[in-house]
Subunit: 213 residues, 2 copies
């Protein structure tokens, strides 16, 4: 069965972006610290079209996160821009050759024609909810797994709906103090987890959980 | 130099107690799940005056947490009761032979004479703030380390003041959804951490951090 896999970098105090996110500063203040562990890795640089880089204990985590992924779901905030597309024909943070290399399904209130990029990434805009987005992504993935991108809000919706199968947190040893909390708005949610893997690596600890139904 | 060491069990979503804490339910709703990993361990049962118990990967963590501790600091909420002592001469949740076996310094707004218990535990009530409580605890510890108990509020105060030297989180794979967050009210705090140990154990992951000044 095709799984919905969610992975995200999180500060020890639970934030996945710093405060005051903006077009100029999409990760929020201090948020870039959450990604320092990964951007120097060869395993991350290669699919982003960059040469060189390090190999360390995080390498297998990054490689595994890209394995067997046939489609991607993300929230509008991760794609970028806000409001209707007419005034702001935003193409996202992701450049001409985005790192997804799969069909991407973006949950949004604003309909838009698909945007085709290089390298196998097509951005599709889904306006009828998270279950529809997942269904379309599963069909596009053709038996492979679906990756859930951020942000926090869309992850909370999928968690609440009990649709996430695997949760991987890259816990970074900083306290951001404010920003977007991953685990928020989940009062009354009933999620059972089983820790399946713990890996310490330079500047990050990788915790992987299976979500029990 | 005597260190201030803080350790606490926390849900994956960052809560150290569930919602609706009360005298009957001091850990809040669902909060007992945070301590299931420890209460079956021989290393925990023995200092609590109980026989038998398990030995597993958490054993060394519990043993180490008790080593070289000469005094304990905690918040009023962890000691128990609320308001002035006159009307509620509360002796805490901790029974006649509390598990601390050291002098304990309780940060409170309400002065009270020390309460002497069996087994080396004396409860002292400190009304002039967290720095005074730590100073008195350091003096009582006579070169050994000081353990900081909870709850969340007192831990936040010590974190904000930059007084914690070592932070150990016992991360339990549950989402409580609500309750007392450990990392809250820390906006603008500037704490740098270094992860010094990661240990996976049955039902819990132990993450230890050194706080860099």
């Amino acid at each position: 069965m095709s799984k919905l896999r969610f992975q995200i970098s999180m500060s020890l105090d639970g934030f996945v972006a710093g405060p005051n996110q903006s077009e100029e500063n999409p990760l929020g203040e201090g948020g870039e610290q959450l990604h320092e562990w990964v951007i120097g890795l060869e395993a991350w640089r290669e699919p982003h079209g960059l040469e060189g880089g390090d190999v360390n204990a995080s390498t297998e985590v990054v490689e595994r996160s890209l394995e067997n992924i046939g489609a991607t779901v993300m929230g509008r905030n991760m794609f970028g821009g806000e409001g209707s597309w007419d005034e702001h024909p935003w193409d996202g943070w992701w450049g001409d050759d985005p790192p997804f290399h799969t069909p991407v399904f973006i949950v949004t209130h604003h309909a838009r024609e698909p945007v085709v990029k290089q390298g196998g990434t097509t951005f599709n805009f889904v306006t009828d909810g998270i279950e529809s987005a997942l269904e379309q992504a599963r069909e596009a993935a053709a038996g492979k797994d679906v990756a859930l991108g951020g942000g926090a809000n869309i992850a909370q919706q999928y968690l609440q709906a009990g649709l996430i199968d695997e949760l991987q947190l890259h816990v970074v040893p900083v306290l951001l103090g404010a920003g977007a909390r991953l685990f928020d708005n989940l009062e009354g949610v009933n999620v059972e987890l089983e820790c399946t893997s713990v890996l310490d690596a330079p500047g990050v600890t990788h915790l992987t959980y299976r979500v029990l139904k």
